[in-house]
């Protein structure tokens, strides 16, 4: 059959008389199409959206369900020996050792978890990408310097390093001349500092490969500056890996924050943090089991959701995966 016949058929197929044009899907459309097929990833995405909603509208939600604010203490809800009361119609998930509503604190804890995770991950990715780009593109002394720095930081036991930094910055006016203040700022900074090395290595590897590609050579031959090549040619090709890694670094950051809060470092005491709640609940688990369950389940589901979404994105962005 001749080409002309195909065009004729195309024209014939369109009842309105306009020719049908076959349009290629954009990368985003392809990504979404592939991701949609992964049910676990979609459920995880929905859960994450739900979490964001909870975090943003926490005060309204707490008000609507009739729970008290997270830091309202009510000692009358403790028995005469100071033990917290369990779930009731007024306090669906019971109260903690200071008479504070556990459900309310779990809801507000979403804010802390997401705020710390998203900001620290963003900073870690920014630092990592910049370091990886510079290291992989320029190579030589720049690569050597950055890579050795990464090696040194990776040699530190991460949790101990985080504990040390968090402890040092949690007292008085913080550290770095007050640039890092005690509280959430400390936790965010600490997580970012210990987390940027992994994306730096990953991006460096990608850049080492990309810089040898023909399109980079072509841009160079056309007189493009290094900055243009880095940001206009190489960086766009790193978006996929960056997205995947970001979704995988977020749950690590959430767990990190929970661990630091569990150890009593960084987050201020009254801040409703899941990790701090779990820590507080350990001494009363025998008599007040509910106190640990709520933040524990919340933490579990959140970390799981981000991990599953990250896996789904990784598969969806893999060019070898079937369309």
């Amino acid at each position: 059959m001749s080409t002309g016949s195909l065009l004729e058929e195309a024209f014939d197929a369109n009842a309105s008389g306009y020719p049908e044009v076959v349009a290629a899907r954009t990368p985003t459309q392809l990504l979404w199409r592939r991701l949609r097929r992964d049910r676990l990833a979609m459920v995880s995405l929905a859960f994450i959206i739900f979490l964001v909603f909870i975090a943003v509208f926490a005060p309204l939600i707490v008000s609507l369900i009739g729970a008290p604010e997270p830091n309202v203490m009510n000692s009358s809800l403790l028995n005469s020996f100071g033990n917290p009361s369990g779930p009731s119609s007024a306090h669906w998930l019971g109260v903690d050792g200071l008479g504070r509503d556990v459900l309310s604190r779990t809801i507000y804890g979403t804010r802390v978890a997401l705020e710390v995770a998203l900001i620290s991950s963003a900073i870690a990715m920014l630092l990592g990408v910049v370091a990886g780009l510079l290291s992989g593109y320029f190579r030589g002394p720049v690569d050597t310097g950055i890579s050795r720095l990464v090696d040194v930081l990776l040699a530190f036991p991460v949790l101990l390093l985080a504990i040390g930094l968090a402890s040092a910055c949690s007292l008085g006016n913080g550290c770095l001349g007050g640039a890092i203040q005690p509280g959430l700022g400390t936790v965010i900074a600490v997580i970012a500092i210990v987390s940027w090395t992994y994306p730096a290595r990953l991006i460096r590897g990608q850049v080492l490969s990309l810089r040898e590609k023909e399109f980079v050579e072509a841009a160079r031959s056309l007189g493009a500056s290094n900055a243009r090549i880095i940001f206009r040619e190489i960086l766009p090709n790193l978006v996929g890996p960056m997205i995947v890694y970001a979704t995988l670094i977020i749950p690590t950051a959430i767990l990190f924050e929970a661990a630091l809060s569990f150890l009593g470092i960084g987050v201020s005491p009254s801040t409703p943090s899941w990790g701090a709640m779990i820590s507080d609940a350990t001494t009363t688990f025998d008599t007040a089991w509910w106190y640990m369950v709520a933040p524990g389940v919340a933490l579990l589901l959140t970390v799981l959701a981000f991990n599953l979404l990250g896996d789904g994105l990784s598969d969806a962005l893999n060019p070898r995966s079937e369309d």
């Binding site: 830091n71 000692s75 005469s80 100071g82 007292l171 005690p182 201020s268 005491p269 001494t283 008599t287």
Partner: protein
């Protein structure tokens, strides 16, 4: 006894949850079934090794420097001060190195003590007997900068020549004389007899041979502690050179029998062959479980957490003993930091405070009554100061807090809205972890009710004291985790170190509110000279009321201290120290 409360509060994490009806009401004695019997059974079986689990270390291993409840647990087993405390004794010290009670003469300005002859020191000293000169040197050490005992000046500063000696202007305290090897005489500038006699029941009066110790005391910081000799039934295991190899800083203390101790000269029984103190048990839940389920163990400087205590009481109450501490816990308000320098502001803060919540954070009514002033129960002056009900000040009338009254005081303080509208951010420094942290958070929440902006800093118990609350120049506004125990059964030990403005020092300060009211200072100085016990009790009660009226702190509990032991331990409590008495405890 400041450090008694300093470390006990932070480490206790006790929130006692005694959830059985036998616990009884909120009386000062707690549960009859869990309290210390009026007369304890001090019989026991010889032998065995006892393990004491502790969270931290003693403050000082040197008995001349120690000023901490946990340190006293060790010191009263290894040293023989002139007087000490038999297990059931809280009123009158028991003659220890002394033969009998002191003789007072010269209108209360001369105190004479006869000591027992032929009391030998432990190895490496062999066949060296204690003399009165050794007691004199032991007390003089407390005034040396290399030892710097925390109560020497407060209680013994009126000995003739003490001031000159501590300033380095004399080579001895001239007011302490030793006319015979078994006689020691204290000459005072003022008849502060009660204070001096009380202090002679503290470890500072334990003898120290100058010929042996002087070389260790000569440096900037004395090292006698790690070379100490003992006169009590136990000693810290040492080597031939006298080095206390049984003391590993922050790790362990190993007490063995003192081979030169003569049981016939001592009221102590000393059943145990060895006592091992193991430190670093930071998790009180784990350590408590170890004690309760294990063998031959007792607690040292911590108490079990709430959940365990509740179970303990319900299932194993014979392993728990509540001992009245003879002290008080309070939230100190710095009277030199604005706006806390305003009396009405302080009254407002006290008025709004939910002291019931504070007590529940610790463990509830089983742990003692809510405090309404500072002299604790069973101390002379307590009843005269108002007893449990207190002196009837309106700002202390409601144990759960009275916001309306608090706001009225704020209005009187110049805040028409009833809330603080200034820009000052109050610094609160509390102890991290456990019940102490809960208390700090409660304090912060109470202040927020009156509009105060606060910055809560949580640090270790030691740091809370040594780096913040004890250091006036740090200007910490609120110290929520402080408290004070008696040094001896006299109200001055509760009020003088903590509320006399003349005792404010720039380092190691115990007057945390920095209260400095001249009329109160003067009243305290006068009351210390009263020799008649009843008049003294009245005088101190009146001072207690004056101090309470200044609202320098939020008093919240006169507490009881929970002590736990393994099932096979026959524990005996030192009611003076509110802890296990190592010289009477035995293995069944």
């Amino acid at each position: 006894m400041s450090r008694i409360m300093r470390l006990s509060i932070g480490l206790m994490a006790t929130g006692l949850a005694i959830a059985v009806s036998a616990c009884g009401g909120g009386g000062s004695g707690g549960s009859a079934s869990l309290g210390v019997p009026n007369k304890q059974d001090t019989s026991g079986k010889q032998g065995g090794t006892l393990t004491v689990l502790a969270s931290g270390d003693v403050d000082y291993i040197d008995p001349g420097a120690a000023y901490y409840q946990f340190s006293y647990m060790i010191d009263y087993a290894t040293q023989r001060p002139l007087y000490s405390w038999a297990p059931d004794e809280t009123q009158t010290p028991t003659p220890d190195l002394a033969v009998a009670q002191p003789k007072v003469s010269n209108s209360g300005k001369t105190i004479t003590v006869e000591i027992r002859p032929n009391i030998l020191y432990s190895p490496p000293l062999q066949k060296q007997a204690v003399t009165s000169a050794d007691v004199k040197y032991g007390i003089e050490r407390g005034f040396m900068p290399s030892v710097a005992n925390g109560y020497a000046t407060a209680y013994l500063g009126n000995i003739v020549g003490a001031a000159e000696f501590s300033e380095g202007k004399a080579t001895e305290i001239s007011g302490i004389t030793t006319p015979t090897p078994t006689t020691i005489v204290f000459n005072l500038t003022k008849p502060t007899t009660a204070a001096v006699i009380g202090a002679l029941a503290l470890p500072l009066s334990a003898p120290v041979p100058e010929s042996y110790a002087a070389k260790y005391d000569a440096g900037k910081t004395s090292t006698y502690g790690t070379h100490q000799v003992s006169t009590g039934p136990y000693m810290i295991r040492n080597n031939a050179a006298g080095e206390t190899v049984g003391y590993q800083v922050g790790k362990s203390i190993d007490l063995v029998r003192n081979p030169n101790w003569d049981a016939k000269t001592d009221y102590r029984k000393a059943y145990l062959n060895e006592i091992k103190v193991t430190e670093g048990n930071a998790d009180s839940a784990v350590a408590s479980r170890q004690i309760l389920q294990g063998q031959s163990q007792i607690n040292g400087d911590f108490g079990p957490p709430p959940a365990q205590l509740q179970q303990l009481f319900q299932k194993k109450s014979s392993q728990l003993v509540l001992a009245p501490s003879g002290g008080i816990r309070y939230v100190a308000l710095n009277t030199t930091v604005a706006p806390l320098d305003n009396l009405n502001v302080r009254k407002a803060i006290v008025a709004v405070s939910d002291r019931e919540a504070m007590r529940k954070a610790r463990g509830g009514e089983a742990l003692g009554p809510i405090a309404t002033h500072f002299i604790p129960p069973e101390m002379p002056g307590f009843d005269q100061a108002g007893g449990e009900k207190g002196p009837d000040y309106d700002f202390l009338a409601n144990p759960t807090g009275n916001l309306a009254l608090a706001q009225s005081y704020m209005k009187k303080a110049g805040y028409p809205s009833g809330s603080y509208t200034g820009s000052q951010v109050l610094q609160i420094v509390g102890t991290s972890g456990g019940q102490a942290q809960k208390l700090a958070e409660i304090t912060q929440a109470q202040l927020a009710k009156l509009g105060f902006k606060t910055k809560l800093q949580l640090v270790t118990q030691d740091a809370m004291y040594t780096q913040f609350c004890n250091v006036p120049k740090k200007a910490v506004a609120v110290c929520p985790n402080v408290g004070w125990l008696k040094d001896f059964n006299d109200a001055q030990t509760i009020l003088v170190p903590t509320f006399n403005g003349e005792n404010i020092v720039q380092v190691n300060n115990s007057n945390w509110p920095q209260l400095n009211v001249p009329s109160i200072n003067e009243a305290m100085n006068s009351a210390q000279l009263i020799t008649d016990p009843n008049k003294a009790a009245d005088a101190w009660a009146a001072i207690d009321k004056q101090v309470t009226a200044q609202a320098p702190a939020i008093p919240w509990i006169w507490d009881q201290q929970p002590n736990i032991a393994s099932q096979n331990v026959q524990g005996v409590i030192s009611k003076f120290n509110a802890q296990w008495d190592l010289s009477f405890t035995s293995i069944k």
